[in-house]
Structure formats: structure tokens, C-alpha cells
């Protein structure tokens, strides 16, 4: 007779529902009105930045860009829960976390604008050791494990936080990173922004598992699900995972459930494959409005304050755009100067050649 040797269970948390109504008790941090306003502000800023970035791309002032509309809560929660000394290893929809950690919006625009300087984050900011945006899917998971290893090696109470999409969970790098992180109890948190789509491929065509969170079980670590549009629940879960990692209790996989209410990138056309009724339904669950409702109901947040916040945020975004648009373009030498600590002689020759050629371009 066979006996059951292992079972698993995956929990799901939602604190604030679509109507802004509390479904369970507020976590401690959320009892502070200012913390909630901070989270709200970050999401509003991210959305305004996002809209502006799309507009820049549409008007030919920036290249292809990966939008984050409707997914602001996940990165907001990540950035808020991280300590300055922690390290962020993002994919390409984590602007909210990056901005909170001191990455300049103009730098993010520069990156998508084809300027490598956009990843040279301010050395005095909390993002000074953060990784740049990562395009090769899920490869950043391994880097995060490596960063966590260094923290563990040096006995530092620091945590690496890595984010990826649902598509990324099919990649080998994802499993390999979780396996080693779990085995060695590395201080890393894996956050999956499950927005249901990998370009045109829906989650149902990506994996047969009921949840993404349970993929952690295969690696011998904890996996939890959270409503990714509920910034309070997401902030709570990610915060818990980060502190557990910091305490040496090992990694966690946090699956934040959202819906991608945007194209994959500005050149994609989601209307080709996203069913309209699904999109309409998802719109009712977007993260900003529910928090606004909660603030209005619980903390007398009013229209005037909201307008002021939107104005201030618009101003910040406009400033960043100004900086981005007015930056001096790189000279061709820059393409040569950052391959080695000391540029080898042969490359210096090519550098000189390129500078000569550039005069005729």
C-alpha cells in the first residue's frame, strides 16, 4: 500500500478587494495613513511616468518601451518593502521599485531611448548596486541568487529581490536559481508578476500547474500567492518574505496575480489576442482606484488632495522628460570605453578609426 509522503498547500492573500473594501485585518504598516499615501503616490507617479513614456515613443522621441499600466502595485510593494541596503534585480516592468530606490526616471527613459548611460544608476542612491533592466528572460534569477550568495558569504543582513513575469517561469534559469537558492538557503525573494500573458501566449499555454507559486515546492522552498492588484496585501507578503530571508530562513516565491492591461511593448498590439471581455473585466480590478476608494473612505482623502498629488506627480515626470530630451548624446568613443577595465591596444586602434569615421556619418 502506498503512503502519502508529501503534500503541499498554497495560500492566497487579499486584503483590499476591487471595491476598496477590507477582506481581512490590515497589516501593521497599513494602519499608518502616510504609508498608504506613499504607496498611492508611487503608483500614481508610475502610471503617469508610464503614460508619458508611451507618448514619447509614439512621437518618435524614444524607442520601444515596456509599459506597466495596471501592474503598478507589484513593483510599488517590492520597492517599499526593500531596505536601502538590499539589492533589486529587476526584469523590465519594475519601474515603481526602481524609482523608489532612487533610479532617476530620466535614466529609465534614456535606457529605452537607446542610451547605455540609463543603466549607470546614481552611485549615491539606494540603487547603486541594483542590476539594470534584464531582457533575456529569467536570466536575472541566477544573478539574484549570486548576489544573495555574496550577502550570505559575508554574513550581511541584506536581501536580493528578483522579479520576473509568468512567461519567465518556463525558463530553465528560473528553476535552476530556485533550486540552488533553496538548497543553500540564500537570502533571495523571487517575485513573479503573473500578468497572465507572455506577449501573446496566455498562462494556460505556458504551464500546466494550477499556480505558479507551487513551482517553489519543486525547489523545496515556500511559494505563496497574493492579489497583485492589492498593494497592501502584496506589500505585506513581500515584506514578510524579505524579512524571513534576512533572518536566514531561506528564499520564497511570491506569485502576484495581475492582468496586463497594456501591450507587451509599445510595438505590440494586444488587441490581436487579448479577448475584449477579459480586458474589460480586468479593468475593474486595477490597483490604483481601489486604494483611492479606501483612502477616501478611511482617511478622508479628497479630490483636492488628489488633484494636487496628480499635479505634483505630473511635474516630476515632466522634469524627468526635460532632462531626458536635453541630454547630450554619447560620442562614439563610449561604445569602446567600457568593455574592459583597460581598453586593449587593438581595440584602441578601432576606437580611433571609429572616431574618424564618425565625422562622415
Amino acid at each position: 500500500m502506498k503512503t502519502v509522503v508529501a503534500r503541499f498547500e498554497i495560500t492566497f492573500l487579499q486584503v483590499l478587494d476591487e471595491q476598496g473594501v477590507l477582506k481581512t485585518s490590515l497589516p501593521a504598516f497599513a494602519k499608518d495613513k502616510h504609508a498608504l499615501i506613499e504607496l498611492y503616490r508611487t503608483m500614481v507617479l508610475t502610471r503617469a511616468f508610464d503614460k508619458k513614456a508611451i507618448s514619447l515613443q509614439r512621437t518618435g522621441k524614444m524607442g520601444t518601451y515596456a509599459p506597466v499600466n495596471s501592474q503598478e502595485a507589484v513593483a510599488t510593494a517590492m520597492g517599499h518593502a526593500m531596505r536601502p541596503e538590499d539589492v533589486l534585480v529587476p526584469y523590465y516592468r519594475d519601474y515603481a521599485a526602481q524609482i523608489q530606490r532612487g533610479v532617476k526616471m530620466s535614466d529609465i527613459l534614456a535606457y529605452w531611448g537607446g542610451d547605455e548611460r540609463g543603466s549607470d544608476f546614481d552611485a549615491t542612491s539606494n540603487a547603486s548596486e541594483d542590476f539594470p533592466l534584464c531582457v533575456p528572460i529569467a536570466s536575472q534569477c541566477q544573478h539574484a541568487a549570486g548576489v544573495a550568495f555574496a550577502f550570505q558569504y559575508r554574513n550581511e543582513p541584506r536581501v536580493a529581490v528578483v522579479c520576473l513575469g509568468d512567461g519567465g517561469t518556463s525558463e530553465g534559469d528560473f528553476y535552476e536559481a530556485m533550486n540552488v537558492a533553496s538548497l543553500w538557503k540564500l537570502p533571495v525573494v523571487f517575485v513573479v508578476n503573473n500578468n497572465q500573458w507572455a506577449i501573446s501566449v496566455p498562462l494556460s499555454n505556458q504551464t500546466a500547474t494550477q499556480t505558479i507559486a507551487q513551482k517553489a515546492i519543486a525547489a523545496g522552498m515556500n511559494g505563496v500567492q497574493v492579489d497583485g492588484n492589492d498593494v497592501i496585501a502584496t506589500r505585506q507578503i513581500i515584506g514578510e518574505a524579505i524579512e524571513q530571508a534576512r533572518a536566514g530562513e531561506g528564499p520564497t516565491l511570491v506569485e502576484a496575480i495581475t492582468y496586463r492591461l497594456s501591450d507587451h511593448t509599445t510595438a505590440d498590439d494586444a488587441t490581436r489576442y487579448q479577448p475584449p471581455h477579459e480586458v474589460q473585466d480586468a479593468e475593474t480590478r486595477e490597483p490604483i482606484s481601489r486604494l483611492k476608494l479606501f483612502l477616501e473612505n478611511q482617511h478622508d482623502w479628497n479630490e483636492e488632495q488628489d488633484q494636487a498629488l496628480h499635479q505634483a506627480v505630473k511635474h516630476e515626470v515632466d522634469q524627468a522628460v526635460e532632462i531626458y530630451l536635453n541630454r547630450k548624446p554619447q560620442a562614439i568613443e563610449s561604445a569602446f570605453d567600457y568593455h574592459y577595465a583597460e581598453t586593449p591596444a587593438a581595440l584602441l586602434e578601432q576606437r580611433a578609426e571609429a572616431m574618424e569615421e564618425a565625422k562622415h556619418v
Binding site: 524607442g63 520601444t64 535606457y111 529605452w112 531611448g113 537607446g114 542610451d115 547605455e116 531582457v135 533575456p136 528572460i137 529569467a138 536570466s139 512567461g167 519567465g168 518556463s170 525558463e171 530553465g172 534559469d173 507572455a198 506577449i199 501573446s200 501566449v201 499555454n205 505556458q206 504551464t207 505590440d268 490581436r272 489576442y273 548624446p329 554619447q330 562614439i332 563610449s334 561604445a335 569602446f336 568593455h339 587593438a346 581595440l347 578601432q350 576606437r351 578609426e353 571609429a354 569615421e357 564618425a358 562622415h360 556619418v361
Partner: protein, 324 residues
């Protein structure tokens, strides 16, 4: 018969073969309903069904490995890597297995597969989307590497690749995906692999290139013609195996060769061609073989892209420097 782009020629070839060979299956990321991020597989799933044309989960190593298993069984997978920049996770499968299955089973098992990928830069894309590392594959015994440069050649060469009993890496230069339209009869006629194409005959210098750089090379040839320099232009097309006979016959006629490729200079395929010209036709050369290539740097982000890609001017200058 309408004029079609290189991209549409790819679709046309895939459709032809799907229609005539039930062993052909087309798969990759977003190739099904979405028709591919460049629409290379547009309409194919609708026409041939999900069993023949389907999306795979997001995992490049898996795509390559799966294709190897499928093809060893006699299916003929045509798998797409969304961009050459994302083929790297599949290198182990391609090099350790696809390239050597025939050899290590002494012919008992082999891999009639095609790996397609858009490659090359110049389209204002984010990082990793402009790779031109065909030399990595050209170096591997057992692989074939094909790069079309026109709609007609894309059609004929892709058909040949799909009918070939061994692995073919089919790299599509995305910069010229939609640049040119041509009449391409859908007659199912393949062009030969392992053969160069002579696009223009000339007497004074042989220009050798492939992919999107063919465009600048032909422009340079036209400009030089006006200055009284007659260029013979060769589209290598099959990077591996190389048709050196066509190249050497031409160089022995003209006495001068300029090789143009977008990929970085060191270890680029131009070095191989140059070495073989030197070994075989040194007596015929009136000047050293020249290479006009990308620099030995990571493809810059698109702000600096225009300085990196071999331009018409650089090609012209290279020719003029050896005409004295």
C-alpha cells in the same frame, strides 16, 4: 503574382512546405495566434491548425532540445527563436546535440531541423535585439548556416533548408524584412545551399557580403560604377558550408576583394573567407583582402547604432584604398 517582402517570402515558403510535407511542424514563442512578433508565421495556424503550428512555453533550450528529439524521429521541425539574441540558452542543445547526432551515431540518427531567427541591427531596437553572431554557428562542424538577402532568395533557401536532412540555422536579416518587395513565384522551387549568388558582374573588385549589408554593398557598387570602378558583387548566402569556388573564381578575375559584414571584426566569418582567399589565390591578388565590419564592441544601443554598422561610405573608401 504580387510583390512580396522578405518576411512574406518566409511565410510563403513555410506555407508551401507545410502544405506539401506533413512532417513539417512550426513552433516557437508567439508564432501561433500572434503569427510571430514580426508576423513571419501570420495566418499559418489558422490555415494548418494547432497540431502543425503552435506556441511553445517560453524556454529556448527546450525549443532546441524538443526539435532535436522530434527530428531524430523523422519529424521536420522549423523552430523559431524570437531574436538571435535569445538563442544563447539553446547553444548547448545546438552544439552538443543537433550538430553531432549524425556523426556520433554514424548516420543512424540525424536532425532534419531548421532553427529560424531574426538577426542583425539597425532597427532602433532595445539591447539584445540586434545580435549578429553567425560566426559562433559557422564555427561548429555539423551545422549549416544560411542567411538570405532578398525575398526570392529567402523563399528558395528556406525551402532548401526545410528539405535538408541536417540542421540549418536560418538567420533572417530583420533590417531588410520589409525593405524590398519582389515577385516571388510560389512554385516550391528551392535554391541550392552551399552556393553563393552573384548579384552583379564586374572586373575591378569583388565585393563579398551577406544579409542586410548586401543592401549597402549594392549601393556602394552603384556609386563606384559612376566613378569608373566596376564591382562584382557576391551574396555569400550560405555562411556554412562556404562556396569558395564562386568567391575564388571571382577574385582571380578581379584581383581584389572586400568583405563586408555587420558582425564584429575579430573572428568574424570575413576572417575565414579572407584566409581562404589568401591560401588559394594569393598569386591573383593585386592588393590585400579588405574587411569592412562592425567594431569589436557589443552592438551599441541604437543611439550609437549608425556609427557601428558598415556604411556605404566605409565600403566605398575601402575599395578606393586598394584601387591605386
Amino acid at each position: 503574382m504580387s510583390n512580396i517582402t522578405l518576411l512574406e517570402a518566409v511565410t510563403q515558403a513555410l506555407a508551401y512546405e507545410l502544405n506539401h510535407d506533413e512532417n513539417i511542424v512550426v513552433f516557437g514563442e508567439d508564432v501561433g495566434k500572434n503569427g510571430g512578433v514580426f508576423r513571419a508565421t501570420a495566418g499559418l495556424q489558422k490555415r494548418f491548425g494547432e497540431r502543425r503550428v503552435f506556441d511553445s512555453p517560453l524556454a529556448e533550450s527546450m525549443i532546441a532540445g524538443l526539435a532535436i528529439g522530434m527530428s531524430a524521429q523523422g519529424l521536420k521541425p522549423v523552430a523559431e527563436f524570437q531574436f538571435m539574441g535569445f538563442i544563447y540558452p539553446a547553444m548547448n542543445q545546438i552544439i552538443s546535440h543537433a550538430a553531432r547526432l549524425r556523426n556520433r551515431t554514424r548516420g543512424r540518427l540525424h536532425c532534419p531541423l531548421v532553427f529560424r531567427a531574426p538577426f542583425g541591427g539597425g532597427i532602433h531596437a532595445p539591447e539584445h535585439h540586434s545580435e549578429s553572431t553567425e560566426a559562433l554557428f559557422a564555427h561548429i562542424p555539423g551545422l549549416q548556416v544560411v542567411i538570405p538577402s532578398s525575398p526570392k532568395r529567402a523563399y528558395g533557401l528556406l525551402l532548401a533548408a526545410m528539405r535538408n536532412p541536417d540542421p540549418v540555422i536560418f538567420l533572417e536579416p530583420k533590417r531588410i524584412y520589409r525593405l524590398v518587395k519582389q515577385p516571388v513565384p510560389d512554385d516550391g522551387k528551392a535554391l541550392p545551399l552551399g552556393t553563393c549568388f552573384t548579384l552583379k558582374t564586374g572586373e575591378d573588385v569583388t565585393l563579398i557580403s551577406w544579409g542586410a549589408s548586401m543592401h549597402e554593398t549594392m549601393q556602394a557598387a552603384a556609386a563606384l560604377e559612376e566613378e569608373g570602378i566596376s564591382c562584382e558583387v557576391i551574396d555569400v548566402a550560405s555562411i556554412k558550408p562556404l562556396d569558395m569556388n564562386t568567391i575564388l573564381t571571382s577574385v582571380e578575375k578581379t584581383g581584389r576583394a572586400v568583405i563586408i559584414h555587420e558582425a564584429a571584426k575579430s573572428g568574424g566569418v570575413g576572417a575565414e573567407i579572407s584566409a581562404q582567399i589568401m591560401e588559394n589565390s594569393l598569386d591573383a591578388l593585386l592588393a590585400p583582402v579588405q574587411r569592412v565590419t562592425g567594431y569589436d564592441v557589443t552592438m551599441p544601443y541604437f543611439e550609437l547604432e549608425k556609427y557601428y554598422l558598415p556604411s556605404v561610405l566605409r565600403i566605398k573608401q575601402s575599395v578606393l584604398s586598394i584601387m591605386a
